[in-house]
């Protein structure tokens, strides 16, 4: 088996190694997630230490899953941003070590674009991506030679909002899945709904929800209202991007896109617009090494030239910074 590509992901909580074949077959998908102590958020240094310990084993396991020796790989890829600096550097170092030890080409790629490109493996060809995770909340699409951010959060990420509320409500990290399990309707408590053009904001919603929590409102009812309101905002922004661009495919990505209610809402919205909705498996929605490997493969085989700038982490690597030459 030759031509397989290994991808390393370490932008935030998740350290991961994934391997794909050139035709998109997933040969390995290994992950280890850093979980902060109850009641506290992620500390970049602690997460990076976790990743530094976890990555060598993850790479070894991934190679074993794929039945490959390192020298049989065609390319090593890592996510060079956006993300937390110490975490990014840990992943870059692991990728460099592997590539240099075995004389393999090395490529650093954009984490957000990887979430989009993995959706193409699901059958989409020119989608709008609704990317909802802890730190990233974006609506992305391809236009005029680049991936463009059509809309995004103006303050906090949707996942951060869920996690922060969960933390205040005494739930363990990550709060999102716990809130999903608790949510109980159909009675809808009114919370701020903030869509500005193609952008959205979640801090007003968080503040109002925390106030209601302090006032003694039952958690299941609040969890329901938060989901209904925040997810509708995200779907509306995605819908506006679809209307604006005329694109006919929607791809979901990011940890929050694992939420069943979000998936249901997105599918309903897409259906009403005659848009095809692609929801990758949960394993590929959350941060993973497979999508990093796949984007690296697509770029590399599309003739993307690896320059010195590609082997450097960039905490604020914007989705629209790199010219897309591989499409």
């Amino acid at each position: 088996m030759s031509g397989a590509v290994l991808g390393i992901e370490s932008t935030a909580h998740t350290a991961a190694a994934g391997i794909v074949s050139p035709d998109g077959e997933i040969l390995a998908d290994r992950k280890a997630i850093f979980t902060p102590e109850a009641g506290s958020g992620i500390h970049p240094r602690e997460a990076a230490n976790h990743h530094a310990v976890a990555l060598p084993g993850l790479v070894r396991e991934a190679l074993a899953d794929a039945g490959l020796r390192p020298s049989e790989l065609a390319l090593v890829v890592y996510a060079r941003g956006p993300g937390l600096g110490p975490c990014l550097r840990t992943g870059a170092t692991a990728a460099r070590a592997l590539a240099h030890a075995h004389g393999l080409p090395l490529l650093g790629v954009n984490h957000c674009v990887a979430h989009l490109e993995i959706g193409l493996l699901e059958g989409a060809s020119d989608p709008v991506l609704l990317y909802l995770s802890g730190g990233n909340t974006q609506v992305i699409g391809y236009a005029h030679g680049r991936y463009r951010v059509f809309g995004e959060t103006l303050d906090i990420g949707i996942g951060n909002m869920l996690d922060k509320f969960g933390r205040e409500a005494g739930l363990e990290f990550p709060g999102g899945p716990k809130l999903e399990a608790l949510a109980e309707g159909p009675e809808l408590e009114s919370l701020p709904y903030s869509v500005k053009g193609m952008d959205m904001a979640f801090s007003g919603l968080l503040t109002a929800a925390l106030r209601k929590l302090a006032d003694g409102m039952p958690l299941p009812r609040l969890a329901y209202a938060i989901q209904e309101t925040a997810f509708a905002m995200a779907c509306e922004v995605a819908e506006r991007a679809l209307a604006h661009t005329g694109k006919t495919e929607l791809v979901l990505g990011g940890g929050v896109a694992c939420n069943a209610r979000l998936r249901e809402m997105a599918a309903t919205m897409a259906d009403a617009r005659d848009v095809a909705c692609f929801a990758p498996s949960k394993a590929l929605c959350v941060d993973n090494g497979v999508m990093i490997a796949w984007l690296g493969h697509v770029m590399h085989s599309g003739g993307y030239e690896t320059g010195p700038a590609d082997d450097r982490v960039d905490q604020r690597f914007r989705t629209d910074m790199a010219e897309v030459t591989w499409r």
């Binding site: 236009a143 053009g197 952008d199 509306e236 506006r240 905490q315």
Partner: protein, 215 residues
Amino acid sequence: MALAQPGPLEHRGAEAVVTAVEWHGRPAVVKHRNRRSYRHPDLETRLVVERLRAEARLLERAAEAGLPVPALYAVDPAAATLVMARLPGETLERALRAPDGARWLPQLGELLARIHAAGIVHGDPTTSNFIAADGEPGANAGLAVIDFGLGAASDDDEQRATDLRVMLESLEAHHPELTAREPLLAAYGAWDGAAGVLERLAALEQRGRYNLVRG
């Protein structure tokens, strides 16, 4: 509603369906906010009524301030419908694609400043929400602004800066070849209330679009 026969579909947006009609002999459009089945029905009802009322109010406020907006003919919250004058011209989105499309940019910056000076934030100032009409100055020539459905009456520089951000993003996404930022902001900056807004814009871009990583 005393509508004549509905005419051709003008536009199916994310929010509403706009249909060309005759309104007592005048060219008009009916804007119908369609319900979103993905949203909770209570939330949907709240948003439809909020946005319809806001849009009608802002259209009147804008008209009073002498801004180029379509005249409002009728409002029906129960049917989620507005009837407005149909403006001549084409969307700015399309007009900007003409060889000399960039000539609209200073006018656009100036119009955004006039909207803000009138105490209005548009909420969705994309290139699809401006109508460009060629012809003799005066009459109906020049730029007009439509769709105040996400707007608000506000003097808040933060919200004004968000308007600018939405506009810039729309221009950069759809017309990257124009390098629209400089001419747009230069024209906007000629307004004596612009300085505070442009400061907020810089701050917004720091913490929003250009700062994707937050702990």
